[in-house]
Amino acid sequence: MPRRPTALLLAGLLAGAVQAAPSSLVVCTEGSPEGFDIVQYTAAVSADASAETVFDRLLRFAPGGTELLPALAERWEVSADGLEYTFQLRRGVKFQRTPWFAPSREFNADDVIWSFRRQIDPAHPWHKLSPRGFPYAESMAVGELIARIDRLDDHRVRFVLRYPEAPFLANLAMGFASIYPAEYADRLLAAGTPERLNSQPVGTGPFIFERYEKDAQVRFRRNPDYWDGAPAIERLIFAITPEPNVRVQKLKAGDCQIALYPRPVDLPGLRRDPRIAVLEDEPLLVAYIGINTRHPPLDDVRVRQALNLALDKAAYLRAQYGEDGAAPAAAPYPPSLWGSDPALAGWPHDPEWARTLLAEAGHAQGLKLSIWTRPGGGPTNPNPGIGAQLLQADLAAIGIQAEIRVLEWGELIKRAKNGEHDLVFMGWAGDNGDPDNFLTPNLSCTAAASGENQAGWCDERFDALLREARRTTDQAQRAALYRQALAIFHEQAPWIPLAHPREFAAVRRDVEGFVISPLGTNNFAGVRRTPASDPE
């Protein structure tokens, strides 16, 4: 069909897409980083744009796993009492050279000490300069744990702890333990521009930060001097695309090569596309309903068990996460984590048994409860409205009349801490691959006292097991202790464990070497592109 010249011109103008140079990688990410001084921030998207690119830590997690590997520390020794950790630092590690900083020396013990003392020592000149404080270091009480850090020589440091803490090494691989150049910090402070640490980051990591355009893109180039070998990707670009369907469309159009966190509903379409591969993994996530054990009659274990028996978990999972979007949960952490119990099956869906238990507890006439949930969805609760309604219907079937209350997230957390709820939808993301990271913050007696344990549940036997496990360094012994703790958790039913959501990423076929991390962060240092394998 002959086209008119104007149509031709228009088509010519519209159709000329740029061909991607294979040395560049564009990733469609889900949000804007809050900043680049990672110790101030908690969002995974901020960690991806700083901790995973610009920075390194003493230890790191194996790609796609939770195993600990040496990084800036080549090896370490732990004293017999578990109180002293001596690290041998890697030699010849260069800090990044950027237009705003030219390092005059290589990485050494001073940088390690600066990076930790800044966060835990109130007398440190940089401590007061963080307007938001140091959320991870504070909520994990790192300042109480570390008694002091000794500089043994240029390449050896010793951390002295106040009490033994088994997850300590894993904590050192987390984003907040990133190592900053002390020399750069000194220069910024001398120049009176400490806020540049947040906008012009410098580290030892695989990628050098180039530029951030707010809400649009973050640009990096490869660090040619990276101690672990320069990345194959020369330019790494994060295209900030908060809408999940837009991320998928851009991936299909070739505007990016990796789209993070597609929605489960988009997966069948993506799987049919020959140009695209869908990756999936089970991250360290748990979705649960906290049962407020301080509100009678929820202090009665039979009532809590009845609630667990009432929920049709399979229907809940299908409605909430789609087919294959999540695995049912029986415990506070996923079965992929060490220290889990494969035999623990969780409570079945058995309304008959639930009614019997309720009657035994003296509530044959029924009960009234409140269900609390948030308005917008998150990874652990993609569609809070529907989830709460399903629970409401299942409870009605055993004679419990439940009222749904939707509260804005910050307000929900605050009031749940005060213990005003009966049942509350919650989630937790593990960030160091240790079971303690799930149990102590959410289910210990300390957490019950501060309100962070929304079940308000404090069980002496359970708590003693957690304490013992923290003070043990042998992982097999610890795993056995956690299995005992899980049995108590199951029997006492302070939660209705819901699901371990799966995590997805869609990548173009020409992308090689990208793996999803169970810790919810994304690292692109090992990615390469092979143009030949991308059938257009």
Binding site: A15, G133, E138, A239, I240, Q249, K252, G410
Partner: protein, 336 residues
Amino acid sequence: MLSFLARRLGLLIPTFLGVTLLTFALIRLIPGDPVEVMMGERRLDPQMHAEAMHRLGLDRPLHEQYLNYLGQLARGDLGQSLRTRESVWSEFASLFPATVELALAALLLACVLGLLAGTLAALKRGSILDHGTMGLALTGYSMPIFWWALVLIMFFSVELGWTPVSGRLDLLYDVEPVTGFMLIDTLLSEEQGAFLDALRHLILPAIVLGTIPLAVIARMTRSAMLEVLREDYIRAARARGLSPARLVFVHALRNALVPVLTVFGLQVGSLLSGAVLTETLFSWPGIGKWLIEAIGARDYPVVQNGILLIAALVILTNFVVDILYGLANPRIRHGR
């Protein structure tokens, strides 16, 4: 004229105070605690929470916080974002050009097509063309922006692949922001083809944002034109045998434009509010998207001062339009 100016200026200060009070009160009335939102699913013990509130100055009584805020404004200090530590002014200044670029493109589209459609409809009054255009204008006016945007994306970007899905520029082009206006910056850079790419990115968002003003302008033009065409001087000109094109586009349109132009002042406000949705849908890095994210994060300084800056803009535009109108029309300036 001077007293008219003074009266108008005198109104500005209470208006601004009203805006500050409203934004201050509204963002605090919405339940939610910035420290909790910052921490996400991590949890703080109450003492650390209190320390963080203190650090941010949020533990003081509300009236004190408000007075501090006014004092800060009086010193010309717009504060720092709680989330990013960047100054609110520098964030606004870096994002505003993107919004202006989009709004100008939308306005240009709306004017050209709106004037054309309105004029044609007036000339062919009562015809199918007239009913068709006005029907379309009404549809455009009532169309929900988010739905309209998705329809366009599905058709032009996904089905046909003509336009990009979102953003301002293909990110493989490395264009440093100089002016913040992508069309200018791409011309200043050495990247081949970047300008055309930026233009392609602008098309869909401009259509979406321009749809409502287009409909308004088309309808205004039509009725103004009908009025003008009935005037004696048009009939006289027609009698003198002027060519119809010259008659309509030079004589009639020029006079019909006067009431249409006053609509412009009012469109600034609706363009900015429409930009909030359009920018979110197209991942367009402007102030609309910035404000939405700030509200979600309870970033008090950004919400308060971002809205204040936008309000200032709308108020000033209307002020200028008022003055121009007063200059053109003495009856207005003498308060009748």
